[in-house]
Amino acid sequence: MNTEAVCLEIACLGKRYGSRWVFDNLSATIQQGETLVIAGPNGAGKSTLLRLLAGLEQPSAGTISYRVGKRRISPSQARQILGLVALDIRLYRELTALEHLRLFADLRGLSDDAAISGALLERVGLAERANDRVASYSSGMALRLKYALMLLHRPAILLLDEPTAMLDVGGRAMVAGLVEEQRERGIAIIATNDPRELALGDYLLNLGVTGETS
């Protein structure tokens, strides 16, 4: 787990598809312990911005830079300290929850300890369905498993897209707890329009209104 302070800087960031700019000239600096909430109407680019920050898409303009301590790290290094939970990123329907955790422990070079996997599934409320295939899960359960996968490597930069959209009351409380914990671990960035989630942030970036954080 990373113990140095992380910092994320966005400078004059823009993204366009074809000739249409989704957003342009976004600038922000998010420091260790801070939570940024991104809001805006449908199509304003909330999810696109998270995908850019995760390195899943390339910006059309501007730069994204990550720092750990005083070191600037490359996008490929940044992926090792990033965790993205989003509805449009799917899980493997043929695999069980435990098989997912084992797969991602192997991919990230982490300990493949059954006790750790069990504790994570217990935390996200999936312990009793640990050996069931994801194909049999509801949308909310699949989202809970994505949280377990994210918790596996305890990312310093946590990116959440509509984090409680499919969750029940218990699930929403779990997410609020995770965001609060993240203040000690690093940075959280949440894309949402849900008033309950807007309250989780220290800053609001409203893509429909302005390109600057306050």
């Binding site: 990033l82 493997y92 098989e99």
Partner: protein, 230 residues
């Protein structure tokens, strides 16, 4: 920072793909169906060609064998990457695994499928067309070298086409010119093996196959990260 081991990641991706395939059986069923249909159809019309040892029959068998392998491979091997994109799971792999591990895991998976496919086609040829092999060692070597080339080429092409909207057609269109030299040489080596030629006679074909595989593998390793990251 975490530093995941390449081999551990590669093995994890291979194991994941095998597990998913054994539970879903999409690629395996497609490969089996295509291979069986092709060989049965050929055997119905041409009969037990292998009985005859004349040059024409040997050439025909070698060509038909590789046609069956090639088209069955085209129908199933693109799944390795296409399935990830279609199911929306590719971003999970992009975030957690290094491009090198993804390529190696998918390549090993495709090589395994090619090996199963070749074994099946050879068994079907032996059963339905009375296949007789003059030089079994050379036959195995030509199948292995051709199969590795087929596996490497289909892996990088599958990665290339996975994000396109007309994946199926594009896969075969891109694969055919890339694989044509490989198939021509593999047919030549297989023909020599069926006719019972010695290793020395087939050495130029085997060297060409090895060179093709190495060149394609080197190009794939250089290109893959760019292709995968888009």
């Amino acid at each position: 920072m975490f530093s995941p081991s390449l081999w551990r990641s590669t093995w994890a991706i291979l194991r994941k793909d095998l597990r998913a395939e054994l539970r879903g059986r999409v690629a395996i069923n497609t490969l089996l169906l295509f291979a069986i249909t092709t060989v049965v159809l050929v055997s119905f019309r041409l009969g037990p060609l292998g009985i005859s040892r004349d040059q024409r029959a040997v050439t025909s068998i070698a060509v038909l064998l590789w046609i069956a392998i090639f088209f069955a491979a085209m129908s199933g091997l693109s799944r390795s990457f296409v399935a990830e994109e279609e199911a929306g799971t590719a971003p999970l792999l992009r975030l957690a695994a290094s491009p090198a591990a993804v390529f190696a895991g998918k390549l090993l998976y495709n090589l395994l499928l090619v090996a199963v496919l070749e074994a099946l086609v050879v068994l079907l040829f032996a059963a339905l067309m009375n296949l007789r092999v003059g030089n079994p060692g050379l036959f195995a070597a030509s199948l292995a070298a051709g199969g590795v080339g087929l596996g490497v080429a289909t892996t990088i092409i599958a990665a290339l086409v996975a994000r396109a909207s007309v994946r199926g057609a594009l896969f075969t269109v891109l694969a055919f010119p890339l694989l044509l030299p490989l198939l021509v040489v593999a047919v030549g080596a297989t023909e020599l093996a069926l006719a019972g030629a010695g290793w020395s006679k087939a050495w130029p074909e085997l060297r060409l196959l090895a060179a093709y595989v190495l060149a394609l593998l080197a190009a794939s390793l250089l290109l893959f990260e760019q292709v995968w990251e888009g």
